[in-house]
Amino acid sequence: MTGLTSSYGAGCGAGQSFGSAVIKSWLAADSLQTAAAALLVALGAVPGAWLRFKLVNHLEPLLPRRHWGTLGVNLIACFALGLVVGLEQSCGEAARRLLLLLSTGFLGSFSTFSTFVAELQTELTARRWDQAALLLGGSLVGGLLALRSGLLLGAGP
């Protein structure tokens, strides 16, 4: 399979666009596995994004500010990622790849950096320094704590 891939790679010359060379090398390589991996990432991404969207909207009226909902979602994701990374060490190769794809799809999609930065900027431009400091500090300290407790629990005794 690698022989085929490299021959396609070498054939990527003047008349062939970069895009078609990439597609051909994918087809020559384990295209089924690539497709299955992409499908797993996508399958994780959809419920991850839905859960974040619904959870933040659901929590919004219960919290003084919307950004606490985003912070909560991000902290849960950090804890879960720590758990997954800790568990991975005691898994076989196949299970490890599956976990990696699911955590890339689901947890990566569930947690968000762009909304966090946008909400931080909103607080900064409104000169609500206390809110900005609480959001930033809570995210950093809380995120690291959540991640480490996940790692600790996942690694086991």
């Binding site: 991996a37 992409a38 990432v41 996508a42 994780g44 991404a45 959809v46 991850g48 994004a49 839905w50 974040r52 969207f53 991000n74 994701a77 950090c78 879960a80 990622l81 720590g82 990374v85 890339t104 799809g105 947890l107 990566g108 999609s109 569930f110 947690s111 968000t112 950096f113 762009s114 909304t115 966090f116 930065v117 946008a118 931080l120 900027q121 930033l136 995210s139 950093l140 995120g143 690291l144 959540a146 991640l147 480490r148 790692l151």
Partner: protein, 124 residues
Amino acid sequence: MNRRALVDEIWALALVAAGAIPGALLRWQLGDQILVANLLGCLLIGMISVAASGRPRWLLWGAIGFCGSLTTFSSWMLELNRAGLPVLASHLGGGLAALLLGQALSRRGLRVWRRVRSAAGSTR
């Protein structure tokens, strides 16, 4: 739930999913380059939030679906836990700068667009 609310709900979920899938696949293809994914997401959310303000469907697809899925907080924390301060500074400083750049680009684009449209209207 009445019929109208149900249709709106399904639309919202479909738009978020339609943004989340390409966002997650792009992040997956970027591999270890979480910084690239996060900065690109901040740039795009800056552009979208200005260009699509007051258009909830665009925001659902672009901001909540695509950018939310493309960027990741948990992997940032994992890297921060491993590599410390440089990761903190690059993501936070870069993210805020990218967001501001996106907003500025979008505002400029909107201004040009309005000028072109009003010029086209006056010649008619």
